[in-house]
């Protein structure tokens, strides 16, 4: 595999965002994933989302672990620093990076193997710390790079390409995140850009840990008959429960929403998410009820999708640590060192 530079040709008529940038300015290098891979659609949604809410490319930090999904951070926003770390350990890199500079946007892209098997511990603890980041799982139920072993998100009864059946129950990241106290938990499908783009935008602006579990079929190892993560199966069993529109603070709500079905949620920076309940009985603001409903529908073989739980802004990692509003890496050294006089005073107690 060699690196292919993506030619940057932008037509003058391409639409520009508030920063004067086109969508092309949010792209990365050319994807080396299989043609038709769900992950590439997610990459496109991330490009669209970042362009749409005028994120300065250098202010986006892209983090990942190991696997097909983790490669994708190279395929969007080439103007932002990327860190492709070790398998399952992206959350700890994100934690350290975020500790150093809270002023940037952190987006982590991981897979079901990277998150739910080798990285399950770090994933859970990033949620516990309420790390201010958007964590996207590109969930396809298999290990692609090692050619099709089941992952921990594979459903009971699902068949591998070579015919083997999975009998172990899956770990569901959405239920896990809701249980662990995450305040922004969503599920989507790589094939539904309309649903996914506003979720990414809201997730980036959400204060604290935001999870989007994106069902993202693997065309090579998990798109066959008998798989519960194929395009066909997902399309058939995919149930949008709550649609979220993301509205930045500077934009007015213009659409005509029906009273009772919509629920505007104001975010810490003044942005709003307008939730449309497509499933009348579903309440995305009730943690316990949401968890119960997701589980029940799952038993019936359906994936509820959309912004499945959104809570009020909690204290994030920095609030809990009582760090300044500005980045720790910008605190001048003079403020950090007690100097020779300070040292002399400290040493008094060691005499």
């Amino acid at each position: 595999m060699t690196y292919l530079a993506k030619p940057k040709v932008s037509h003058p008529s391409l639409p520009r965002n508030a920063l004067g940038l086109t969508r092309r300015d949010y792209e990365g290098s050319l994807s080396t994933l299989c043609a038709g891979c769900g992950h590439d659609s997610i990459t496109a949604a991330i490009v669209e989302a970042c362009w749409g809410i005028d994120i300065e490319p250098q202010n986006l930090v892209k983090l990942s672990g190991i696997g097909c999904s983790s490669k994708t951070t190279a395929y969007f926003v080439s103007g932002g620093h990327g860190f492709n770390s070790v398998h399952g350990r992206m959350p700890s890199i994100a934690t350290g990076a975020n500790a150093a500079n809270r002023e940037l946007h952190y987006i982590g892209v991981s897979g079901d193997g990277d998150t739910l098997s080798i990285g399950l511990g770090q994933f859970c603890h990033a949620i516990r710390r309420n790390l201010d980041m958007l964590y996207i799982i590109e969930n396809n139920g298999v290990y692609g790079l090692t050619k099709g072993q089941f992952s921990a998100s594979a459903d009971v009864g699902t068949k591998a390409k070579k015919g083997e059946t999975n009998f172990q129950p899956p770990i569901d990241p959405v239920l896990l995140a809701i249980t662990l106290g995450a305040t922004f938990v969503a599920r989507s499908f790589s094939g539904d850009k309309k649903q996914l783009v506003p979720l990414i935008q809201a997730g980036l602006r959400h204060k604290g840990f935001a999870l989007i579990d994106v069902l993202s079929p693997c065309v090579t190892f998990n798109d066959h008959e008998g798989s519960t993560k194929s395009y066909a199966y997902t399309r058939e069993h995919y149930e949008p429960a709550v649609h979220a529109d993301f509205i930045p603070p500077e934009r007015e709500i213009v659409a005509d929403y029906q009273e009772g079905e919509t629920l505007p949620v104001v975010m810490h920076d003044g942005s709003r998410i307008v939730l449309h309940k497509l499933d009348a009985g579903y309440d995305p603001t009730n943690r316990a009820a949401a968890a119960t409903q997701i589980q029940e529908r799952m038993k019936a073989g359906e994936y509820l999708t959309g912004l499945l739980y959104v809570g009020s802004a909690e204290k994030d990692f920095h609030d809990l640590n009582d760090t300044p509003d500005t980045a720790l890496n910008k605190v001048p050294y003079e403020k950090l060192s007690p100097g020779s006089k300070g040292l002399a005073k400290i040493l008094e107690r060691y005499r």
Partner: protein
């Protein structure tokens, strides 16, 4: 080896045997500090169990007018407070020495020995009569033996009062109760024994300009002065006190007086894998960050260390070494992670290591570790150990140069980035093997992709043979540059001749004392203390210049000797290992005996020589 009777004033060892969790630490610290404040050099070593309450623990105080910092291997006064260990404690006392025990109960037969003086003090009885509450009585019993020793050793009682006042500045009622206990023991000893003993303390003026501090506290202080703002770790003995000290210093020194906000982030990680990940993430993003661990934690960190080496991310790791393998003996000391740290991780990896020999050096090397990590864009491991980290050492006062500013190394500023046509992360522009780096959030032109997978010098993914090799060869060049930046060895070649001792870290105190003893025996030996990996040029020169080299270290497998044979040209037949690895700090007598065995002609040879 013949033993001359040691002078009794300001040169003896007290050992205190107690039960873990009874608060004996404050009594022992009180005694040691009282001696220190009398101007007499003193050393304290704590031999404690991996336990919170109930197991035996010992504290050794060496009063040493010559200022030696190692164990001597002898015990002159034993304070036997733990009936469970009476048998072994009584055996350890040198002939002519003393044993103090609690005579509240009848003297056990175990404590019988004709060649020592046994002093009984009814400690429990006195404390039961004078204090209320079980816990208080147990604690005060310990403070009470400190009072007994104060009388026997002729310590200044007013100085003890002052020490208690300093310690309990915020709880004055504790000063009175503690002083009462001290006085009980003091008065009892004065009334019942001939005070002072022939071995006692006489005031000197040798501790001016010195402090008593442990290495973990000193290292934590170094991190504060280096400007570290992110500290991530997972609790593990014996490194935890380093993190506790850093947090305590920061709570005092780093809270913004105007906003009340904390200019530091202190993160207890879920495991050591996360702790090192956080450290790497933070330093990658421009904050000085560190973690502290010990052997088992280092094992868990190795994958990430390889990433940081290859992706060239700075990180600072303190390894407070403890006895291995595996869980080993968590509260005992060794230098057993030398190889694990030097080559941590799979593939061709080598890491910069620093080897402090005492708390003073922990302070300076902590600062140096951050500068080296950023200058070389690589992890730096500070290889301390339990003996340095958790024992109080008498050190020179720490100094600070207010002109110090963190060395960020080759970090491009926003202005420099703007002037660049294009930024290439892993390109060797200066010929020293060190590329330039950038921080996120500064400029889109500065963005690059950090990865542990194969990459070209331009920072893009590769599986190309030649492109891969360009980068790893440059890393080797950087390693050569590191040799010029790391601290040089400390060499004492005043002895002349062609015999030398080569060592590192906490062996230093014992070796320096051994050199004096050997000289008195007519054996003159040069000494080199290595302070860093990679080895500097002077290490090679010293090794080449000697015919016989004793390699002194505290592990079974001669790890330091292995590093020397792997990384220098030394002829291995010249190297003799002196290995101390039972978990106790190395003593000077161990080294003296080891050297003499090799250099002294055996009696038979002597006889033959005389005949010839």
């Amino acid at each position: 080896m013949s033993r001359t009777p040691a002078p009794r004033v300001n040169d003896f060892v007290i050992k205190i045997a107690t039960v873990n969790g009874t608060g004996s630490a404050s009594a022992n610290t009180l005694l040691m500090k009282a001696i220190f404040r009398s101007g007499v050099p003193v050393m304290g070593k704590n031999y404690f169990p991996s336990n919170i309450q109930g197991l035996p623990t010992w504290y050794e105080i060496r009063v040493t007018k010559d200022g030696y910092v190692a164990r001597s291997g002898r015990v002159d006064i034993m304070v036997a407070m733990n009936a469970e260990t009476y048998a072994r404690d009584v055996k350890e006392v040198m002939p002519g020495g003393y044993l103090i025990y609690d005579s509240t109960w009848p003297r056990p037969a175990l404590l019988k020995r004709e060649d020592i003086t046994v002093l009984g003090v009814p400690l429990a009885k006195m404390c039961n009569e004078n204090f209320n509450g079980v816990r208080t009585r147990i604690l005060m019993k310990n403070i009470c033996y400190a009072g007994v020793l104060a009388a026997l050793l002729d310590l200044d009682i007013e100085q003890i009062r002052q020490l208690l006042a300093d310690t309990y500045a915020k709880k004055p009622q504790l000063v009175d109760s503690n002083m009462k206990a001290v006085q009980l023991g003091y008065d009892y000893a004065k009334q019942h024994f001939a005070c002072p003993l022939p071995l006692h303390v006489e005031k000197m003026t040798k501790t001016g300009g010195h402090i008593m501090i442990d290495g973990n506290t000193a290292a934590a202080l170094g991190c504060v002065f280096a400007g570290a703002t992110v500290a991530a770790w997972y609790p593990i003995t014996p490194s935890t006190s380093l993190m506790d000290a850093f947090k305590a210093f920061c709570e005092q020194l780093r809270v913004d007086p105007e906003t009340g906000r904390k200019n530091f982030a202190f993160i207890q990680a879920e495991d050591e894998l996360a702790a090192i990940g956080m450290t790497i993430g933070a330093m990658w993003n421009g904050a000085r960050a560190f973690t502290a661990t010990s052997g088992p934690g280092l094992s868990l960190m190795t994958e990430f260390l390889g990433l940081a080496y290859y992706a060239e991310v700075p990180a600072v790791i303190f390894d407070i070494q403890r006895v291995g393998p595996s869980t080993g003996m968590p509260t005992r000391t060794q230098q057993c992670d030398l190889i694990a740290a030097a080559y941590a991780s799979h593939g061709d990896t080598r890491h910069v290591c620093l080897y402090p020999s005492n708390p003073e050096e922990c302070f300076y090397m902590a600062v140096q570790a951050f500068d080296l990590a950023e200058r070389l864009q690589t992890p730096v491991l500070v290889m301390s150990d339990l003996d340095i980290g958790m024992n109080d050492w008498m050190c020179r006062e720490l100094q600070w140069d207010d002109g110090y500013r963190p060395d960020l190394g080759k970090m491009l500023s926003e202005e420099q980035i703007r002037q660049l046509d294009k930024f290439y992360r892993y390109l060797d522009r200066d010929g020293d093997g060190i590329p330039w780096r950038t921080l996120p959030g500064v400029h889109p032109k500065a963005a690059y992709f950090t990865r542990g997978s194969g990459h070209t010098q331009y920072g893009v993914y590769t599986e190309d043979a030649a492109e891969y090799q360009i980068v790893v060869d440059r890393l080797k060049k950087k390693w050569e540059t590191a040799k010029k930046l790391v601290p040089r060895a400390v060499i004492d070649a005043t002895a002349g001749g062609d015999i030398g001792i080569v060592s590192l870290g906490s062996c230093d105190g014992a070796i320096r004392e051994a050199l004096d003893v050997l000289e008195a025996e007519g054996v003159r030996v040069n000494y080199m203390r290595v302070r860093s990996f990679p080895f500097t040029e002077d290490v090679e020169c010293f090794l080449a210049a000697h015919r016989l080299l004793f390699v002194v270290e505290q592990n079974r497998d001669a790890q330091f000797r292995s590093l020397l044979t792997l990384e220098t040209q030394v002829d291995r037949s010249k190297l003799r290992s002196l290995l101390h690895y039972n978990g106790l700090p190395i003593s000077s007598s161990f080294i003296v005996e080891g050297v003499l065995e090799e250099v002294r002609p055996r009696p038979r040879e002597q006889a033959l020589g005389a005949a010839g």
